[in-house]
Amino acid sequence: MTKSPRLWLLITILIALVMTTPIWVLVSFVFESGGNNWQHLMDTLLPDYILNSILLMIGVASGTLLLGVPAAWLISHYRFVGSRWLHWALLLPLAMPAYISSYTYTGLLEFEGPVQSALRETFGNGISLWFPEIRSVGGAILLFSFVLYPYVYLLSRSAFGGASQHALEVSRTLGAGPYKSFLRIALPMARPAIIAGVTLALMETLADFGAVQHFGVDTFTTGIYRTWSGLGDTSTAVQLSLVLLAFVGVLILVERWSRKQQRYFGGHAKGDALERVALSGRRGMAAFAVCFLPILFGFVVPSGQLLYWTVTTAETGWNNEFFELAWNSFSLAFITAVVAVILAVILAYAKRISANKTVAQTVQLAHLGYAVPGTVLAIAILIPLAWLDKTIDDFFFENYQISTGLLLSGTLFALVFAYSVRFLSVSLQSVESGLQRIKPSMDDSARTLGASSWNILGRIHLPLMKTSLLTALILVFVEVLKELPTTLILRPFNFDTLSIRAYEMAADERLADAGLPALLIVLTGLIPVIILSKLMDKSHA
């Protein structure tokens, strides 16, 4: 007890420092002058960026809640038609990159697309005046909600399924109906997990570039890119992304506040098997509809469109290169997932056992990486890595006449590091919300029995948190698989991934040819999602 907190403090602060280096690099741009570009932005586009970003946040928060929470509740407490496969199928949209989904939906629903063309043929040209524009803030909200709700679903499902079971049984025996016990017991207890899920969805929304760019919705991210690329002004672009970070800072504070307001520690994470109530007839069908709708629009429709393109209009078909692309994507995603989860466990655990406020705050900082648009993050990583490379190279050259070249920034190290910075928040959210459901009294009893901190971590927490760890693993894995902007900037020579291939086709306006690599991303993501989902089932039962 005497030594270990100090050790933890050191480790935590070290990790957090390394993981937040890119953020500090960004902050160092605060005082750089970008000429009069700020004035220009305030006069022209900045109000739009702010308004659109806020609208998106409100919309996506509501959308992901509406889609994710009811489905999670139904799946964890009821049995109905298809509930067995819906259970994992609800995760499928995770494997669908938002920008790919945006291509398919515009292809289907735009003025020139098949849906509106068919409607015009049937009802006359006037119908298109009434047809809602898919490329709009509203369209973007729907799109993100259908692609990102799995975060809310996954995190709230593990909360519903695990700790709250006992309290629920009690409430039921005290005569509360299922509806009432959901609202009064389960929902408040799962609140930290639900909010963690929404926070993830919102951060991802704010950092997205591909989809909003395609939809012509001006957000902070498109603004950052435009300032950098169009005006050639890195300083103002970075300062814009700091404003975005401030947005997210507020978001994280709100989330933390909500956790403080309500702290529940459920005891029986490994309690009795769930007694799921059977729903049949019309109620079963309704439950099915609630759970199938998100899959339909988040996964089936866009994959269907991709498949259609691949089969009918793609110019390039399958070739052996795809094996290599898939392997590259898979191995990167796997390595990063493991790294990010290990780091998250260390940080989350340090925060839990240390009374030190600095630790808690440093861990909070580590979340920020997720909200930085990939392009900006990649640049913020290039700068310190290049400096480090230079230092190492100089050292070796002076002492041994060996040039080490770009040891870090020119290799996969840069990519894995960048992904870990970016997705640490994802694994942290999941691990932290898992850890929060373990009673501190358990730690105390273990300590009285002479267990060390490491012992408590290894023998009590980790087994109890298996679900949360697996969740974190899946989420990071799939995130890396889909990731585009960082990969595009930081990868080494002759190293392409599926998402790179999909992007290169799409950016060349060959959407049909982007179909196959995109489908492969989905497939590669699917397999581990299903396997891990089954594993989670077992650890519950």
């Binding site: 515009t106 690329s229 796997f334 950016a507």
Partner: protein
């Protein structure tokens, strides 16, 4: 659980050691390429080059701005020998930020018309792309069309489609107009154009062609090769859409149609400059030039190269002879003009 962790750790270590040696320097002849051209439009040529010359080509494709940032931060340690972009503005920016060197062989520079290369010989154009007006064959009389300037005329109200001003080709077009007639006139023009738009700017160039075909607008401003790809593609809907429009070459009576280039430069850090020149020579060969003209319907920078039937069908045109470095210099000004005009 303990064993599970152990497995994870060992897998991790194995994976890391397996993946790391991707980057390895060796004694063989190489040339390292940073390309903003997408892999599908450069890799086949690079493979052919390797086969002919025995020189290994290493490739990273990315966005031009990203490659430029990477070159800047890598400095003299950068492994890159070659930078390829799909617009002249970015090459100019690379030159300004000091990551290029002017060591392209004289004989290669001389092959390329003077306005399609840097005046200080830092870069040269490989292919030309023209930004033209396409019109609906059934609704527009080409006699009513004349210049880019004319697109701001109120007679085209609600008739024009164009993509977002985020796009580099729109930025370059506006930069060329600023260069020819000053910022004030261009600003007025941009406002007039925005008033004439049939819909909010969105989608890519192909989408604008589709919108004209579907009747949402009568005119669109697009790069020719997109239309060429649509006409020759497998997608029947796109072929039909492309068939409904025709190409109009703007400003034939005065300065000529706006063009841009995809171009190439040698980086300052290059340690394989001789090989880099060999690669440039290969890309300027008649065979490579023809490949671009046929696969992607881009115009060769060399005279007398065989081009695709699609390109032949559009005929010859008079192109703007503005030195393309100007496009890079005026790009920020162009973006601001478009911002103020409300061109999204």
């Amino acid at each position: 659980m303990k064993r599970f962790n152990f497995t994870l750790f060992s897998t991790l270590f194995m994976a890391v050691t397996l993946v790391m040696p991707v980057h390895q320097a060796s004694a063989e002849e190489v040339v390292n390429v940073y390309s903003a051209r997408k892999a599908q439009l450069i890799k086949p040529l690079l493979d052919e080059f390797s086969k002919e010359s025995g020189i290994t080509v290493n490739l990273i494709t990315s966005k031009a701005d990203a490659l430029l940032k990477r070159l800047e931060s890598e400095g003299r340690r950068s492994p890159a020998d070659i930078l390829i972009t799909t617009d002249a503005g970015r090459l100019h920016r690379a030159k300004e930020s000091g990551v290029l060197k002017a060591e392209i062989d004289r004989e290669l520079l001389d092959k390329v018309p003077a306005n399609l290369r840097d005046k200080d010989n830092y870069w040269l154009g490989l292919t030309t792309r023209a930004r033209v007006v396409v019109y609906a064959k059934d609704r527009v009389d080409p006699k009513d069309l004349s210049t880019y300037e004319d697109l701001a005329d109120p007679k085209w109200q609600n008739k024009i489609c164009i993509r977002s001003s985020n796009n580099i080709y729109n930025q370059s077009l506006v930069a060329s107009m600023i260069s020819h007639q000053g910022e004030e006139k261009t600003a007025q023009w941009a406002e007039g154009l925005v008033k004439n738009l049939a819909r909010k700017p969105k989608g890519g160039d192909r989408d604008q062609v589709k919108a004209v075909a579907a009747g949402q607008c009568d005119l669109a401003v697009v790069n020719t090769y997109y239309l060429g790809q649509m006409l020759n593609g497998k997608d029947q809907a796109q072929r039909q859409a492309a068939d409904k429009v025709a190409v109009f070459w703007p400003n034939q009576q005065d300065r000529g149609t706006h063009i841009n280039v995809s171009g190439i430069a040698i980086t300052k850090s290059s340690k394989n400059t001789a090989n880099a020149n060999k690669l440039i020579k290969f890309l300027l060969s008649e065979k490579s030039q023809q490949w671009y003209a046929e696969t992607n319907n881009e115009y060769p920078v060399l005279d007398g190269v065989q081009v695709s039937d699609t390109l032949k069908s559009w005929g010859a045109f008079h192109s703007d002879s503005l030195n393309l470095s100007k496009l890079g210099e005026l790009n920020p000004a162009a973006v601001k003009v478009m911002d103020r005009a409300g061109w999204r």
